[in-house]
């Protein structure tokens, strides 16, 4: 059913209307409206029958447990990001009414990305998300970095979506339809892959690669992440990425696989089109490059940006595995990643607000100045590294197990060694926070609201590292795709 989306749209319109009555100072209140809308949407989503899996709008989008789970993720991400934005000092200078509206718009776009099964709808949803993110990245018009970020983002985005579109057109030409399932039929019918098909595949891969910032389509990431307002950076590094993966899974496992995909527990790639080797290689290169480049970053936001590339690489490992457990691992990691990445970014925001720096070198002794922030940050960083007993470890554990189950040992070892590299640069932050500096006498405790939000993010990071059966089951149940 389409009710949650409708509620989102509704709350957006409501927000626009409400914004008229706020002056510059109070326009952030729109954020509250939107949060309300999100909550209601979540409620509606909860009320829709869990196991339903139907198509809507002439089969252009589906509502199935897979999409449903991702919708929850989007709602959660958006809510947290809005809460962050309400607390960051960066946005104090500008009128933020539209800001929240745009975030809500992105959420809608992501909803569509997660559930669209028609080339048109796919392109549409991607563009919705992209265009709005362009604006948000440049939301701080007065700042050079922000403007530049948005410029690069828009050119890059338009460029790669253009390429993807061209790929779509070729695909359409090959099969004569835009509906994924029909395309799949005719692709299966047409024996072996033709050159055209290969070209189309790669061009589409480029489009998705840009969304999930996989090498070599990742170049925009560091600049945009550094330039954009931090909450937006956090948002972009989680929300659209997750949406991108949802779309990637759906499209690739629908189109470019043998017909048994999405039903069997293990399946084959479309014969004549062995794309999973390429995907695996991409995964390996992506995580390695991301990590290797993160090593020499001096700016925490930029470091997290590169590390998010690395994480995209990890997640990507789960897709070429071509098995239920692979997709399962991807979904699990996305959930875990949400908590730790947003958490890390929120700590960065809080530190920026209080100590006014994003440079690692200036993080010295924060562990003593503010034990709470220090401990929380340490938890997120360990989790991002993938050390037990944190959720990050479990996420990696599932990914590796999927990969090893598929006998791709080399990929597993590459991934494992990568987490050693990751340890090095994440530990640099911990080192600055704790190994530098001395015992302080007056301690900084973030505001109650911030502390609670941090705890809300940190506690699951630990809990899911020790006992994760609930979400494991939840994901297992949502691992159901719509099938015609």
């Amino acid at each position: 059913m389409f009710i949650p989306e409708l509620i989102l749209v509704g709350s957006m319109l409501l927000g626009i209307f409400a914004d008229l009555f706020y002056d510059r100072k109070h326009s952030f209140r729109v954020g509250h409206w939107i949060i309300g809308g999100l909550v209601v949407a979540a409620l509606a989503l909860y009320l829709t029958p869990a196991s339903e899996s139907i198509t809507l709008f002439m089969g252009t989008i589906v509502a199935d447990p897979f999409a449903r789970m991702f919708k929850y993720i989007f709602l959660l991400t958006t809510t947290i990001v809005i809460l962050m934005s309400l607390r960051t000092d960066e946005l104090k200078t500008v009128r933020t009414g539209e800001y929240y509206l745009l975030i809500a718009a992105i959420t809608l776009g992501m909803f569509l990305m997660a559930s669209s099964v028609d080339l048109i709808m796919i392109y549409l949803s991607i563009e919705v998300v992209s265009i709005v993110s362009f604006i948000l990245a440049g939301y701080l018009k007065t700042q050079v970095r922000s403007t530049e970020a948005s410029l690069k983002y828009v050119i890059y985005g338009a460029f790669s979506s253009g390429i993807m579109l061209y790929g779509f057109s070729l695909l359409f030409g090959l099969t004569g339809t835009t509906k994924l399932f029909e395309i799949r039929e005719s692709l299966a019918a047409l024996d072996g892959g033709t050159l055209t098909l290969t070209v189309a595949t790669i061009m589409i891969m480029a489009g998705f690669g840009y969304k999930i910032s996989a090498v070599p389509f990742h170049f925009w990431t560091p600049d945009v992440y550094e330039g954009a307002p931090t909450p937006i950076t956090a948002f972009l590094s989680v929300g659209p990425k997750a949406a991108g993966f949802a779309l990637l899974i759906r499209v690739f496992n629908t189109l470019f696989t043998g017909t048994d995909a999405l039903t069997a527990s293990v399946w084959q790639s479309l014969e004549g089109l062995p794309w999973q080797e390429v995907m695996a290689a991409l995964a390996a290169i992506t995580m390695t490059l991301g990590n290797v480049l993160a090593i020499q970053q001096s700016n925490v936001k930029r470091l997290l940006a590169y590390s998010s590339i690395a994480h995209a690489g990890y997640i990507l490992m789960g897709i070429p595995v071509l098995s239920q457990s692979g997709i399962y691992a991807v979904m699990f990691y996305v959930v875990v990643y949400l908590f730790m990445q947003l958490g890390a970014f929120f700590v960065v925001i809080t530190i920026k607000n209080k100590f006014g720096t994003e440079e690692i070198e200036e993080y010295g002794g924060i562990g003593f100045k503010s034990p709470y922030l220090g401990v929380i940050m340490a938890i997120f960083l360990f989790s991002l590294t993938g050390l037990p007993p944190t959720a990050g470890f479990i996420g990696k554990f599932y990914l590796f197990s999927a990969v090893i189950d598929a006998k791709m040992y080399w990929l597993a070892i590459v991934g494992a060694l990568n987490s050693v590299i990751a340890l090095y640069y994440y530990m640099r932050i911990v080192k600055m926070m704790y190994l530098q500096g001395e015992r302080e006498d007056e301690l900084y405790m973030p505001s109650k609201f911030q502390s609670i939000l941090l705890a809300v993010l940190a506690v699951p990071t630990i809990i899911f590292g020790v006992y994760w059966t609930p979400i494991a089951d939840w994901i297992r149940n949502s691992l159901v795709f719509f099938l015609p």
Binding site: V144, T147, L151, I155, Y166, G176, T177
Partner: protein, 101 residues
């Protein structure tokens, strides 16, 4: 060669020109035009396939949507370029390079 291939060739040429423009133009507006070319090359393909492939209308519909989105994208992009002009006093995209390693 038959009519479809002519259209496809046109599309391909457009696509290449678009790529070239995007990559080599300094002027932001010109870069955007390159992007437009790429999008429209895709449109040409869609329509051509739909017409000569003797298929349903979804190709045309797709083209419609692309045009709309292209417009929206262009709007946003131009706004950003104007903003760039306010900041840097130029519309050359390569002058914006404060963010780097």
């Amino acid at each position: 060669m038959n009519d479809l291939n002519i259209y496809l060739t046109v599309g391909a040429i457009l696509f290449s020109l678009g790529l070239y423009g995007v990559i080599t133009r300094r002027n932001g507006v010109a870069v955007l035009m390159g992007v437009e070319l790429i999008l429209n090359s895709a449109n040409v393909n869609f329509v051509a396939f739909a017409r000569f492939g003797g298929m349903n209308l979804s190709g045309h519909i797709f083209a419609m949507f692309v045009i709309i989105l292209a417009a929206a994208e262009a709007a946003v992009a131009l706004a950003i370029i104007i903003n760039l002009y306010n900041k840097f006093g130029t519309v050359n995209v390569d002058d914006a390079r404060s963010l780097k390693q």
